[in-house]
């Protein structure tokens, strides 16, 4: 159980790994917005190149990124089939007309763009966030980014602290679950056979001690934190103060520029499009 790793962080030295995490979060969000701004073939081609460029810059193995797309392959397949079979278009654009199926060129076009959009969505978020950012960095970044909400009385620091502690304790609790299950198995508990309901029932004797110990841990941790003078986010400093560097701005403005470019292409109607 020692090998448990949270998230899918892939350690590497790359310009994207080194970007300021706050900037990365913003860039990822902007990238997602861009995928929805794209409307024609040219803009999708640009989007795909941007996604490829970010993979190359992040030095992630292409197979790893491709694996990230796998879980949504079914969704991609279903949506593209729906697009192919249910899109209607101009009568002169009919490609196949057989039995109850009528496939228009528009349908194929829409389906292809949909696939590109989905793939870019996954690639963009995974390259900028999940693969190149540790969960803990992400938590810190979110605390910083949600800073304006503090003014509205939202306990941003407390949420971030809770996230941090959760991340710290997940491996411990996983370990403990394993121990309890082994102990129960040694006394004849059966977790792997029987109906689903029976198996769920067999887990109750695992969950109860797990909860008891989680509460005990929580109490001990609270006391330990108090002893280390923890008194909420007020007056707290940080060891690692993050600075936004020139390269972070380059990345940010790059994506903004890209989005503006897409909007310009859309309004000028440049780029091949069928519909």
């Amino acid at each position: 159980m020692n090998s448990i790793s949270l998230g899918q962080y892939y350690p590497a030295e790359s310009p994207i790994h080194r970007l300021d995490v706050r900037i990365k979060v913003v860039v990822a969000i902007l990238f997602v917005v861009c995928t929805f701004l794209c409307k024609n073939v040219l803009s999708f081609a640009l989007l795909l190149s941007l996604a490829l460029l970010s993979i190359i810059l992040s030095r992630l193995p292409i197979g790893l990124v491709a694996r990230g797309v796998r879980p949504i392959l079914i969704i991609i397949a279903i949506t593209s089939l729906i697009n192919i079979f249910f899109s209607t278009g101009a009568p002169e654009n009919i490609v196949v007309d057989w039995w109850i199926f009528t496939i228009y060129r528009e349908g194929i076009y829409n389906a292809l763009l949909m696939i590109v959009r989905f793939v870019c969505l996954i690639v963009g978020t995974s390259v900028f966030l999940t693969y190149t950012t540790t969960p803990i960095e992400l938590t810190d970044a979110i605390e910083d980014l949600l800073w304006p909400l503090k003014k509205l009385g939202v306990p941003v620091h407390d949420f971030a602290m809770m996230m941090t502690i959760a991340l710290r304790f997940i491996p411990l609790l996983v370990d403990e679950t394993d121990k309890i299950m082994t102990a129960q198995k040694a006394r004849g508990a059966d977790f792997s056979s029987g109906s689903l309901a029976q198996r769920a029932k067999a887990l109750v004797p695992v969950l109860i001690p797990l909860f008891v110990s989680a509460f005990r841990r929580a109490e001990e941790l609270a006391v330990a934190m108090e002893c280390r003078c923890y008194h909420g986010g007020e007056g707290r400093t940080r060891m690692n103060v993050r600075h936004v560097h020139a390269k972070d701005f380059v990345a940010l403005f790059g994506v903004i520029l890209f989005g503006v470019g897409i909007v310009v292409l859309n309004t000028l109607n440049i780029g091949y499009s069928i519909s």
Binding site: N2, L167, R168, L172, R217, E220, A224, C227, T237
Partner: protein, 287 residues
């Protein structure tokens, strides 16, 4: 000597069981602890030793009696949160379970937790964290995840976390109880080093006699009463009483004690295997 760093007078503390019974944990306890002391507090489970630690750290407040830390009297309900934080800065505490006192997912972030809470400027935190980790020989693990470390290493990280707050006193509440023998030795040497080299007052709560033997002064609690207070060799000479309290005496001390009872004349203190060997060697040479 001057003023004691911690002064406890006629301290009593009781808690209520679920069925309403009052359990008296500490009875009229008085003890003075000087700056730079290396004090071991011995007692079996429920002897009140952990309660004492919690009162000194203001997690619990005494029912009656007077507690003065560094010239500041702790009056329950009157002391402000800021004053509590000010005092906790001076008295750090290391607990039993290393897993339940580490907050962050990276070792150096955890060590930084205390100083961050104190609002220290970031450059200085960096310095303190690096120093504390170096002090405990954990520098190479600075970027590691705590759950991949051994028990002894985790406990050293916890100590580094306290050390980075630059306390004047550290209380170890059975900090070695959950460790394997190797981890225990690591942590004990760290504790000794902190006391001897940095002059930090150490209060070590334990039920291991051999650990207590390494301190300069041993206090024995039994059911909330202070039974013995003195140098380890003085305290351990009361073997019968200690055993009747459910405490062990270090094996070597016990051996010498039994030999003495059997009529051998063995003079001198015996708290470690080395001293024991020397005593036995001297005796054999004389015969």
């Amino acid at each position: 000597m001057g003023e004691p760093f911690i002064s406890v007078k006629n301290l009593s503390y009781a808690y209520e069981e679920d069925d309403g019974r009052k359990i008296q944990v500490l009875k009229n306890l008085s003890i003075d602890i000087m700056r730079g002391d290396f004090l071991a507090v011995l007692g079996h489970n429920g002897s009140g030793k952990s309660t004492l630690a919690r009162i000194l750290n203001m997690i619990l407040f005494a029912d009656s009696g007077k507690v003065v830390i560094d010239g500041k009297e702790i009056i329950p309900n009157e002391i402000s949160d800021d004053e509590i934080i000010e005092l906790r800065k001076k008295i750090g505490m290391v607990f039993q379970n290393p897993d339940n006192q580490l907050v962050a997912t990276i070792v150096e972030d955890d060590v930084a937790f205390g100083p961050e809470n104190l609002g220290i400027p970031s450059g200085e935190i960096r310095e303190r964290v690096d120093n504390a980790l170096a002090e405990l020989g954990m520098s190479e693990y600075a970027k590691h995840e705590p759950h991949r470390l051994s028990g002894g290493q985790k406990q050293r990280v916890a100590i580094a976390g306290i050390l980075a707050m630059l306390p004047e006193c550290i209380i170890f509440d059975e900090s070695t109880a959950m460790l394997d023998p190797k981890g225990r030795q690591e942590v004990l040497s760290a504790i000794e080093k902190i006391n001897r080299e940095k002059g930090i007052t150490v209060i070590m709560i334990t039920h291991y006699m051999d650990e207590a033997a390494r301190a300069d002064r041993v206090v024995v609690l039994d059911d909330g009463d202070l039974i013995f207070d003195g140098k380890p060799e003085e305290v351990f000479s009361h073997e019968k009483e200690l055993i009747s309290m459910g405490l062990d005496v270090p094996q070597c001390t016990s051996l010498i004690y039994k030999l003495r009872e059997a009529g051998f004349k063995l003079e001198g203190r015996c708290l470690s295997a080395k001293e024991c060997a020397e005593l036995l060697f001297g005796e054999l040479k004389n015969n």
